[in-house]
């Protein structure tokens, strides 16, 4: 079901771990549904003097596809300017991995979300202008987080009730 590239990016992950005092940190996903990605980056300057993503790392709780897509987005974003990094799409990740099974496509969305959230985190903390598109995607992610919380709140309570009942 997975391409060799996906398996390679899963089994030999690079650039994982934490960055101390990151310039940007994006946290997306939910352990209830199965995937959590945290993405850290630090900025630096390239030879031309442009500000670029110099160091970038991920931490992921999730399946083969989640780990592979995290690893890939980190690869794709490294060395890019913020503007360029924001252009990375889920299609780019899927293409770079040689494809993903349909039920795993959401992992590529999560990877893009992790990066854009990290960039949003950087921009907002440095009081920099936030592109409209980014603002929109951030709002969408926040909204989804709330939905998941609510959706699973009722589910968790019913399961808990069932469990307590059995314990009595």
């Amino acid at each position: 079901m997975y391409t060799n590239k996906v398996l390679k990016y899963f089994s030999e992950p690079k650039n994982y771990g934490r960055i101390k005092n990151p310039d940007g940190l994006g946290k997306v996903g939910n352990p209830i549904c199965g995937d959590v990605m945290w993405l850290y980056f630090k900025l630096g300057k390239n030879k031309k003097g442009e500000e670029i993503i110099k160091d970038i790392k991920f931490e992921t709780f999730g399946c083969v596809a989640a780990i592979a897509t995290s690893n890939m987005i980190v690869d794709l974003a490294k060395g890019k300017t913020i503007k360029e990094a924001l252009k990375i799409s889920k299609e780019d990740i899927v293409k770079a991995l040689g494809g993903l099974p349909p039920i795993k496509l959401h992992c590529s969305v999560l990877a893009v979300d992790a990066l854009t959230e990290a960039i949003y985190d950087y921009l907002i903390h440095h009081k920099k202008p936030i592109p409209k598109e980014l603002e929109k995607s951030h709002e969408q992610i926040e909204k989804e987080k709330k939905i998941i919380k609510q959706k699973y709140k009722s589910w968790i309570t019913t399961e808990n009730k069932l469990h307590k009942k059995a314990k009595k």
Partner: protein, 405 residues
């Protein structure tokens, strides 16, 4: 699910796994390889003994007599009568026939069915559907080991109750339910009792009379028999509606030309399992206990799911905090080890196992589940190899995980 690692074709010999050095098979609860003795028995029925049991010529009559012999073999194992066995296409079909067949016949009289929260989908989905058609369904909760409480069952049975369906042994966590007690209660309360014994048939002694079982599901491919065959025991006198109408085979309860080669194989597989049951259970319990002890000791933040003692002799189910099951299975696969998980990521529904949740695990804990099921060709050295690789796999995945505990 495949992860792209090339695996040589299984050889259909008893020693197929040891001969195939590329794979260590720890997924016997999913399906089992065909035993070569079973294949040998089936062979003539795929070739010269091809008659239809419904034909009156000698080929047909021979087939009919062999079909009946198969029923006799299966019925003896569960202490039933041959005419109480209906061959079906799978355990899923048997479960559907039991639930819907009983429900349809009692329509407008009694409309309440009781199941447990940890049944297989082939029980839960039909009951969900029956609920949509107006039946009342009670799902009994389980304790942290996956055991139902018989007091709950007693309380749940009402005048409206027609059927109680509780599995013998759970497919994910291996917990064995107290079916003899359940049978007693059902008999006293005058409701029918069905048990899905797909995982236990051929592994645990069954006596439908002593256990007061009215209907029982069994499967062929879990006991080294061919795929595509299961059976349903229906106690004499229990009235049930057919789901498949046609030529009236299987006492009119399951029309279809019987799949004789597979049925012959099923009966042979059952015979072998029955004969070797005690020896095999003693051998595998030893290996199971060694594996459980070793893993719990060598991997921090690991837990055993299911009951420590009341469990199938071949089932092991762990949870590892901070990592996800599909990732573990993929890493094991790269070492040539076949195991399984019920994490959300590995399912089409993207929800973690209903069994582990019912046992009280938090969804995030249920994500890190790993089921290891042992079988006829599991060797001690397979377990030693697992000890070498699994702790390292979990450690490495935890390095990537944002949760460290």
């Amino acid at each position: 699910m495949t992860f792209g690692v090339k695996i040589k074709k299984f050889k259909l010999t008893n020693a197929f796994l040891t001969m195939n050095k590329n794979i260590i098979y720890f997924d016997y609860a999913a399906t089992t390889p065909l035993d070569s003795r079973v294949l040998k028995k089936m062979n003539p029925y795929l070739k010269e003994k091809f008659g239809n049991p419904g034909s009156s010529h000698s080929l047909g009559q021979q087939a009919k007599s062999d079909l009946e012999k198969s029923k006799e073999i299966i019925s003896q194992i569960i202490k039933a009568e041959p005419e109480e066995i209906i061959f079906t296409g799978s355990a899923t079909e048997s479960n559907n026939l039991a639930l819907k067949g009983i429900a349809f016949l009692n329509f407008q009289k009694k409309k309440h069915i009781i199941v447990s929260a940890i049944e297989h989908d082939s029980i839960l989905k039909p009951t969900q559907w029956l609920a949509s058609q107006g039946w009342k369904i009670t799902k009994l909760a389980v304790d942290k080991f996956g055991l139902i409480r018989t007091e709950d069952l007693e309380k749940a049975i009402s005048k409206e109750t027609v059927l109680v369906s509780i599995m013998h042994a759970n497919n994910e966590i291996g917990t064995i339910e107290p079916i003899a007690e359940i049978g007693k209660i059902c008999k006293r309360k005058n409701v029918l009792f069905h048990t899905d014994a797909s995982q236990s048939f051929g592994k645990i002694p069954l006596d439908v009379k002593k256990m007061n079982i009215d209907l029982l599901t069994a499967s062929s491919h879990k006991i080294y028999g061919p795929l595509g065959t299961g059976c349903l025991f229906i106690k004499k006198g229990v009235k049930i509606e057919s789901l498949i109408h046609g030529g009236g085979q299987e006492f009119g309860l399951r029309s279809s030309t019987p799949n004789l080669p597979s049925i012959i194989g099923f009966a042979e597989a059952a015979k072998i399992s029955q004969k070797s049951m005690i020896k095999e259970s003693q051998r595998l319990i030893k290996l199971r206990e060694k594996l459980i002890k070793g893993i719990l000791k060598s991997i921090p933040r690991s837990r055993l799911n299911g009951h420590p003692k009341k469990r199938l002799f071949n089932n092991i189910n762990f949870s590892f905090s901070f990592v996800e099951g599909e990732a573990i299975v993929a890493k094991l696969n790269a070492y040539g080890i076949a195991a399984s998980t019920t994490s959300a990521c590995a399912s089409e529904k993207l929800e973690p196992s209903h069994v582990l949740l019912a046992c009280g695990l938090k969804p995030q804990e249920a994500q890190g589940s790993l089921r290891i099921s042992l079988g006829r060709w599991t060797k001690e050295k397979d377990i030693d190899f697992l000890f070498k690789v699994l702790p390292e796999i979990v450690k490495n995945l935890r390095k990537i995980s944002p949760f460290k505990g």
